[in-house]
Amino acid sequence: MFEILEHPADIGFRVRAATLPELFAEAAQALVAIAFEPGDVAMRETYALEARGEDNESLLVNWLSEVLWLLDGPKLAMREFRVISLAPGRVIGGALGEPRDPARHRAKLIVKGVTYHQLKVFQDRDGWCAEVFLDV
């Protein structure tokens, strides 16, 4: 689940989760939901994801950039994300999905990049929260 954040030119989202690894998974989910219609994506394969970053913010940006790469490079449709390990400076996980089929997987937006604009990754009494803006 995510909430859209307004921006005059681009688009952002806010996600929440109980733990930091779950937050990263939710953020990936939000990114693909913004780019594609939730649809009939079969979880046929698992695609490895790994990113590094010097802090939680850059780690999240680089993690989401890896998801973006899977969308536009290998052209995958992804339904679920899992984080296997999240340690300072490194996150390892996977995406479940299948190769993209234009007939079944309808694209909504081209996401050009994940920005640092007003980027927030923080913990409060409700758990973890991230706010991310995308260049579209």
Partner: protein, 479 residues
């Protein structure tokens, strides 16, 4: 949000004075009319312009064009020049869509010849120019072929039969930035770009079939070969996934590099490195390669559109480039600063080069009139051709606006509207719209943008560029 204190200099210039407590090294100069200033104050764009003023080695003021609106890091409509020795390059000052730009093409047809066959033409172009997410182009490049395109830009496409030599002559930098190094673009960038040459993309990228509604400068129009009633084609797109990946790759390196050079910025999206550094050299070489890719892309699209027009109107129809400009770029240029010539790196983020008459970089046909400045409006409104004027080279490092500038978020643009109604409304006004997605129509609704006429009035009022002609859309094709 708190209103930023602006000092009005004259009807089209405002200043935000240097604030050392904020780390600003220089003033911000905003080019806008009173009406536009009220809209500009409604988002974070002026704060972003103030943040740009903190960049190390900035030369002159941080500049804001009349179509300025909130971006990420740099505002959209922001211009900043930096010193080559002591200054920085900021990939955010170029953006993910490196060399997003506009190509305007005149045709040998009049509006009344095109109108009876407009729907057929639109459908033909929609078939011939892939648009939308995930759409691949019809051309297939091997890695060495793609690297040749990254090195040579539009001329590489022309040399392979996708255009005429004249097309490059009427393109900024002749469609090729020197100093491009294809090997500084990652394999991922090349993988993404390999099948995307000749594709439009989506979002605010589009192809518009237009007619010249009104000529304001007869001599300039004559030099460009345009007259009232003539049909033109406007193409707005950039470097597609290749450029996006180049920016992503280099932004990821910037954090660690900035620590090494002891640079701090108020906004992480302004991440930057000293221009003489190896990191900057690598980024600039990759950025130039991506810029060349974008020019090659617009060249391929022109080739396909020529085919579309010939299919509908016969083989004798002519399509000729009026000009092609980029509006997301960082270029090394020679400018007079405090009475002395200097080479500086000019970042234009949603801003267009606007060189005046006599400038050495102009094609011979435009030396007497100045460089065409192409200003697309919002879908269904109007676009403008301007020419660069002396004020631009004197004050803004030869820069002017790039479009109408958004004033409404995509979410807000969708509220209370449906795509079918908007499409029918535009058709009732004689404008056909063909879009790959519903979102593509709604989010680009005319109400989401500032009034392009007001933007152009401000640019002309400030002496940055002069009006040549106003064009109106007949059809819009987008992803």
């Amino acid at each position: 949000m708190p209103t930023i204190a602006l000092e009005q200099i004259d009807p089209f210039r405002y200043r935000i004075a240097r604030d050392e407590q904020r780390g600003m090294r220089t003033d911000v100069i905003v080019y806008a009319s009173r009406e536009l200033i009220d809209q500009i104050q409604g988002d974070l764009s002026l704060e972003q312009a103030m943040n740009v003023a903190t960049l190390p080695g900035i030369v002159g003021p941080s500049l804001a064009m009349p179509d300025i609106h909130q971006g990420y890091g740099f505002p959209i409509g922001g211009v900043a020049a930096t010193d080559l020795e002591r200054g920085v390059v900021s990939p955010g000052g170029v953006g993910f869509d490196i060399n997003c730009g506009v190509r305007l093409i005149r045709t040998s047809l009049e509006a009344e010849q095109v109108r009876p066959k407009l729907r057929d033409l639109v459908n033909q172009v929609f078939r011939d120019v892939p648009c939308g997410t995930g759409r691949e182009g019809p051309l297939r490049f091997s890695k060495p072929q793609l690297e040749a395109v990254l090195a040579e830009g539009a001329p590489a496409m022309i040399a392979n039969g996708y255009g005429e030599p004249r097309d490059a002559e009427f393109t900024e930098e002749r469609g090729k930035l020197a100093g491009a190094d294809p090997y500084q673009a990652s394999d991922r960038a090349k993988d993404r770009g390999r099948t995307q040459i000749g594709t439009l993309g989506s979002g605010n990228h589009f192809l518009e079939i237009q007619y010249v509604e009104k000529v304001h400068d007869e001599a300039a129009a004559r030099a460009m070969g345009i007259e009232e009633g003539q049909v033109a084609v406007l193409v707005h797109c950039g470097s597609r996934g290749l450029g996006h990946q180049v920016c992503t790759d280099y932004l990821a390196q910037m954090g660690a590099a900035m620590k090494k050079y002891n640079i701090q910025v108020p906004d992480r999206q302004l991440a930057c490195v000293p221009i003489p550094s190896p990191e900057a050299k690598a980024y600039l070489a990759a950025m130039r390669a991506a810029a060349n890719f974008a020019w090659a892309n617009r060249q391929a699209i022109l080739h396909f559109v020529r085919g579309s027009f010939r299919q509908i109107f016969g083989k004798n129809v002519r399509l000729d480039v009026i000009y092609d400009v980029c509006h997301n770029i960082a270029k090394q240029e020679r400018h007079a600063v405090d009475g002395k010539w200097r080479e500086v790196l000019v970042h234009r983020k949603g801003a267009t080069r606007a060189f005046p008459p006599g400038h050495r970089d102009l094609p011979a046909e435009y030396k007497s009139i100045g460089q065409p400045v192409l200003v697309p409006g919002s879908m269904g409104t109007a676009s403008w051709i301007l020419v660069g004027a002396a004020g631009a080279i004197e004050e803004t490092f030869g820069s002017a606006c790039h479009g109408a500038g958004r004033r409404m978020s995509r979410t807000a643009a969708r509220k209370g509207r449906d795509a079918e109604t908007l499409q029918k409304d535009l058709e009732a006004k004689g404008i056909l719209v063909r879009s790959e997605t519903r979102e593509g129509i709604l989010e680009e609704a005319p109400e989401a943008y500032k009034d392009v006429d007001q933007v152009v009035e401000a640019v002309e009022g400030a002496g940055l560029a002069r009006k040549v002609a106003r064009l109106r859309p007949m059809a819009v094709i987008k992803g």
